[in-house]
């Protein structure tokens, strides 16, 4: 973390900062430009707080036309652009560069159209994830992807990172729930992709844009799929004396043909921290805890949870507890969803986001324990057990430079191990600046070139969200030769 290098600032831009900002003001009438130091300070980092960099300015557009004019101006003057939603990225996806302008979309948070018969809503992408569900809740609908930060994080950020959440085992991640996008390219051109239909004409450009980490353009509006809320949902808790038992139980549940709406795993340290924070009633004398949630009518839920409990009996559960009330269900989820916040109250932590084949869970947890012990660091693990997405939280003291370095090293070793067992570096947070330098662990040179060529086609000067996703030696100069 301490060793992060950002792209070399463009001194020609830095030197002209004031006239450029004046020019921008003129080019985009009415644009709110934050250029004072205190104002910019609020945007110098995202939720990966170990990295900070003050941008030249922050702009807060209110509509697509302004975003278009901003990008056109920046492109003409070779100014780097860092798109930003709510700044909740855990991988430095919204980290500014010194010579960049941050384009914050938080003021573009309106719901533009709700179409229940066709099951979709069109919104500006600065809306919070939960804001979408709140807007349609009274009619019994919801927007499915539910990252833990859903109260704060924006749809724009979710689209950039293809965010998931605890309930994506059943409902899919962001890319599975987007029907159309309005995108502003670096030259200011505004393009509409998709139209709310269940498939697109031509290439899957929605698939291309979702997860592109703000490097192809700025998405200003999106049409999302709305789903009808189930009649009811209820979680149960199951405690085990080993992660093997918990992992085997998950496999057996899935093999039985039941796909719960959520299947979450916590190890002992995580259980204790979450319970201490949320008083969720988690058992404290177990090594592994599963939260399993199912949906349906009350009697269907009873029947499904019974089936799951019966399956679990084969794996020596110490505790099986089915939620008895809506309040208890809320508490159970509050514990899980506040895991990161709760951990933050007791220590600085570095949240990893690898994905592993689910049957490697025990092996990977042991390796994580070994890695952290070697670096003399504590770790707690949260795991989306149904889909293999693992969040080790490596605890460290941000004021201790040596611990920071060790945490960074341990994190990289953990992710490399995830790749080694058949998994990947990031399941739902994105690459950002955090993982860009270990991309070669997962990808070959050819794999990387195939991606950087697309980046260059959209953004020949690599002005959009620079320094993210790719090691810095993959930047335009390095790829120019490969372009036709």
């Amino acid at each position: 973390m301490s060793s992060l290098v950002l792209p070399e600032p463009d001194t020609a831009v830095l030197i002209k900062r004031n006239p450029l900002l004046k020019g921008l003001k003129k080019a985009v009438p009415g644009l709110d430009i934050i250029s004072d130091e205190d104002g910019r300070r609020a945007f110098e980092a995202d939720a990966l707080t170990a990295y900070k960099m003050m941008p030249m300015a922050v702009v807060l557009p209110v509509n697509t036309e302004q975003v278009s004019a901003i990008l056109k101006f920046c492109n003409q003057h070779n100014i780097k652009v860092v798109p930003r939603g709510a700044g909740t990225s855990l991988c430095g996806g919204a980290l500014p560069c010194e010579d960049s302008i941050v384009v914050g979309l938080s003021r573009m948070n309106r719901v533009l159209d709700i179409d229940f018969p066709n099951r979709m809503a069109t919104v500006q992408t600065g809306i919070t994830n939960l804001g979408i569900s709140n807007a349609v809740e009274a009619n019994g609908f919801f927007y499915a992807p539910d990252p833990s930060s859903q109260l704060a994080c924006t749809l724009g950020g979710n689209i950039a990172m293809n965010s998931g959440g605890a309930h994506c085992l059943k409902y899919g991640v962001t890319t599975n729930n987007i029907l159309a996008l309005k995108v502003v390219l670096i030259d200011g051109e505004v393009i509409d992709i998709g139209g709310g239909y269940l498939d697109q004409p031509g290439y899957d450009l929605i698939g291309l844009f979702v997860g592109s980490e703000g490097q192809f353009g700025i998405v200003t509006e999106a049409t999302v799929r709305l789903l009808k809320s189930p009649e009811a949902a209820r979680p149960m808790l199951m405690g085990f004396q080993s992660s093997e038992d918990a992992g085997d139980c998950v496999a057996a549940v899935i093999a039985s043909g039941i796909i719960p709406v959520a299947l979450e795993f916590m190890d002992r340290p995580a259980i204790h921290v979450c319970e201490n924070f949320a008083n969720a009633g988690y058992p404290l004398d177990v090594e592994a805890l599963l939260i399993v949630e199912v949906e349906g009518s009350e009697s269907e839920i009873d029947s499904l949870l019974d089936k799951i409990a019966t399956i679990a009996q084969e794996f020596n559960p110490s505790v099986i507890r089915i939620s008895q009330s809506p309040e208890e269900s809320l508490a159970i989820w509050k514990g899980r969803k506040s895991a990161f916040g709760a951990m933050g109250q007791i220590s600085d932590y570095y949240c990893m986001d690898g994905t592993i084949p689910t049957n490697k869970l025990s092996e990977v947890l042991s390796e994580i324990a070994r890695i952290c012990a070697r670096h003399e660091l504590k770790v707690a693990n949260i795991f989306h057990a149904g889909d293999g997405n693992l969040h080790p939280l490596v605890l460290y003291d941000a004021n201790n430079a040596d611990e920071v370095r060790r945490a960074e090293e341990a994190g990289a070793e953990i992710l490399k191990h995830c790749v080694r067992v058949g998994g990947c570096l990031t399941g739902e947070h994105g690459v950002g600046v955090e993982k860009r330098d270990i991309m070669y662990e997962q990808f070959s040179t050819v794999d990387m070139e195939q991606q950087t060529r697309i980046k260059s086609a959209f953004d020949p000067n690599w002005l959009l969200n620079p320094g993210k996703v790719f090691p810095l030696d993959e930047t335009p100069q390095a790829t120019a030769d490969g372009e036709s």
């Binding site: 992709i193 139209g195 290439y203 009649e231 084949p357 889909d387 058949g422 070959s444 195939q450 036709s484």
Partner: protein, 407 residues
């Protein structure tokens, strides 16, 4: 058919494409060629098939993941999955017989090259939604990968999805990895008869916004029911509107009853049991309703609530056309009378006015040569499409011009 190269190794395919790129030789690419007659006619000097890139390389039922060579027959994959009580959730369709070929011959790769999904798309998502990784060879002959074998993966750009629906014009897939799901314990279907298109669409749209997890809906014009299974349904000669539920048996008792009560005003309701339901939906998946003739067929994507009006706009000019509405109306299969231009201008005009896109699925080669088969793109998406073609296939040798001029 001219001499077809059928590499059985990625390296062989890779060198073949690299050499073709070097010398600018345009190549036709397909799997088992069951959908070869969709698209603008090609002018090529070589033909390559992925159908020898076969074999299931990974199947972990408890992880819900399967990888296979792109040329692996879909039928083999579905047979294996069935042994473990699992399935491809998006229920891929079989276009073979519709295009005068055999049934059950399509390959896994072609499912993703076309991104055509079946009835369950409305509940479980499309083919592209279940794609989690891919290996492919681009138009330079370079083998690259994207995604992997784990369900959640946002490492790098999503090139796998970018290649879905690209009809072999960007790269040749060599291996794909998909998410699979369990087969439901039981399937049942509610049937309604003689509903007007608009009414049927209202019913289907209302059905999918109940909390009962309707997994498919279809409305079939009475002219197209004759090949539908079971036979006794076909022989009634009435339009059919069907709503499917898949779940544990005890849930179905409750859910069917709820739907029956809610939708009793739509007239008499018949119920298909598990076996009948499987037979019925299998005939929908095989597009039996399009096998009543060899006339031109359009596949139209639109908003469900506009679907009936889209068809009405076309019927105003071609009263003999018949429609099947899947996905509550979001997908229309339109069987046209035997027109030399397949009714292209009326289809495009009606779809253009109400929103959506139309692809000509069946027509003779002279029609395909004279009209746009794929829906013309707006300027912006076409610009990105050209960027992508240049990036993946700079020499323009892979299925050149199949989708659009130069693409």
């Amino acid at each position: 058919m001219a001499h077809v190269i059928r590499p059985s190794e990625e390296e062989e395919l890779s060198s073949f494409i690299a050499e073709a790129a070097e010398s600018g030789v345009p190549i036709e690419v397909f799997g088992a060629a069951t959908k070869r007659d969709i698209g603008r006619p090609l002018q090529v000097e070589a033909t390559v098939s992925s159908e020898n890139l076969t074999g299931i390389t990974l199947y972990e039922p408890s992880e819900l993941v399967l990888s296979a060579g792109s040329g692996t027959p879909l039928a083999d994959i579905e047979d294996l999955l069935r042994q473990y009580n699992q399935q491809l959730p998006f229920e891929p369709i079989d276009l073979g017989p519709v295009l005068k070929g055999e049934a059950g011959r399509g390959t896994l790769g072609a499912v993703f090259a076309t991104n055509f999904s079946g009835p369950r798309r409305i509940f479980s998502g499309s083919a592209r939604d279940h794609l989690i990784g891919m290996r492919a060879i681009n138009g330079r002959g370079e083998l690259f990968k994207s995604g992997g074998r784990v369900m959640k993966n946002v490492t790098g750009y999503d090139l796998s999805r970018t290649l879905t629906g690209s009809w072999g014009t960007l790269a040749v897939m060599t291996e794909v990895t998909v998410k699979v799901l369990p087969i439901a314990e039981e399937t049942r279907t509610l049937l309604f008869f003689d509903l007007l298109d608009e009414i049927a669409i209202d019913l289907m749209c209302d059905a999918v916004i109940t909390p009962y997890e309707v997994s498919a809906t279809v409305h079939i014009d009475q002219e197209l029911v004759s090949h539908i299974a079971p036979d006794e349904l076909a022989s009634q000669g009435k339009s059919i509107t069907a709503i499917r539920l898949e779940n544990f048996s005890e849930s179905l008792d409750y859910r069917i009853e709820q739907l029956r009560t809610q939708f009793q005003s739509y007239g008499d309701i018949e119920l298909l049991n598990d076996a009948q339901s499987l037979e019925f939906w299998s005939s929908i998946r095989q597009l039996k309703f399009l096998q009543v003739s060899n006339d031109p067929v359009w596949r139209i994507s639109t908003l469900p609530k506009n679907a009936a009006e889209v068809v009405r706009g076309i019927r105003a000019h071609h009263p003999q056309c018949s429609a099947v509405y899947e996905w509550s109306g979001g997908l229309i299969w339109l069987l046209m009378p035997p027109l030399s231009d397949a009714g292209t201008s009326e289809v495009r005009r009606s779809v253009g006015a109400l929103g959506g896109h139309a692809t000509l699925i069946r027509s003779d080669v002279s029609t395909r040569a004279s009209v746009e088969v794929f829906h013309p793109l707006q300027k912006g998406p076409m610009k990105i499409t050209q960027h992508l073609k240049n990036v993946f296939d700079p020499a323009g040798i892979l299925n050149p011009g199949r989708m659009y001029p130069g693409i």
